[in-house]
Assembly symmetry: C2
Homo-oligomer: 117 residues x 2
DNA sequence: CGGTATCCGGCGGGATACTG
DNA sequence: CAGTATCCCGCCGGATACCG
């Protein structure tokens, strides 16, 4: 069981369960990808158009990593032209509340304080 | 107000409020540092001993970044030998629930699945 | 349409030595 | 005790060109 009062030592960064989760969702574009897939299943090109700044190869690697971590599911349809869809897995859907918390925190603690500048 | 149903485009990664929060807490050792400081105010050496794997320079930079982001407060006491204490700020304390969520998610979705290997 | 392959640069993180 | 200074390196992310 998780001991949230753990006062022990952390030899390796990954001994920290918080860091373990951030490893999964913390790629540069992963939060955006997950957020877009929370809203809807999306095709490859659709994702790419929704994130204009991202390089093709980078988007692909982030998608592969998310798939390897069981967060998203890739479905390729054997058609011509090919069609590939990306959807959140059940595990991925359990991230929804966390994503909302992270988004909410930044709007109240980062964006707000920038107004004061 | 935050539009959690935002279906717009993200030109830059940082347009994403989720990524903005991860930028703050996402350094390699920042989750551990924040977690330790949630439990208690700690001195520099005390932190260093609690995280044996971290290099001095790296820990210092992570602490400086956390301080710059308003998450922690550094207090130096003009004594000999010097004493420096690090504590969570009020803003930092608002991260507590998020940290617990992140820790809990990894224990149920990462550590559990590793057992199956 | 949905990808690989190749090459590259920067930055975060690290080991070691030195200092107020 | 609590830091800097210096040098180093691997990896993530990026631009461009090519492929099934």
């Amino acid at each position: 069981m998780l001991n949230l009062e753990n006062k022990g030592k952390y030899i390796k960064a990954n001994d920290c369960p918080i860091a373990a989760t951030i490893d999964v969702i913390g790629g540069k574009w992963k939060p955006i990808i997950i957020w877009l897939l929370i809203q809807d299943v999306k095709r490859f090109g659709e994702l790419h158009r929704s994130i204009p700044g991202i390089a093709l190869k980078v988007m692909n690697r982030q998608l592969k990593e998310l798939e390897a971590d069981g967060i998203i599911i890739r479905t390729a349809y054997p058609e011509v032209p090919p069609r590939v869809e990306y959807a959140l897995s059940e595990k991925g859907k359990t991230l929804t509340d966390i994503m909302k918390s992270l988004a909410l925190w930044s709007t109240t603690n980062i964006l707000e304080s920038e107004k004061a500048d």
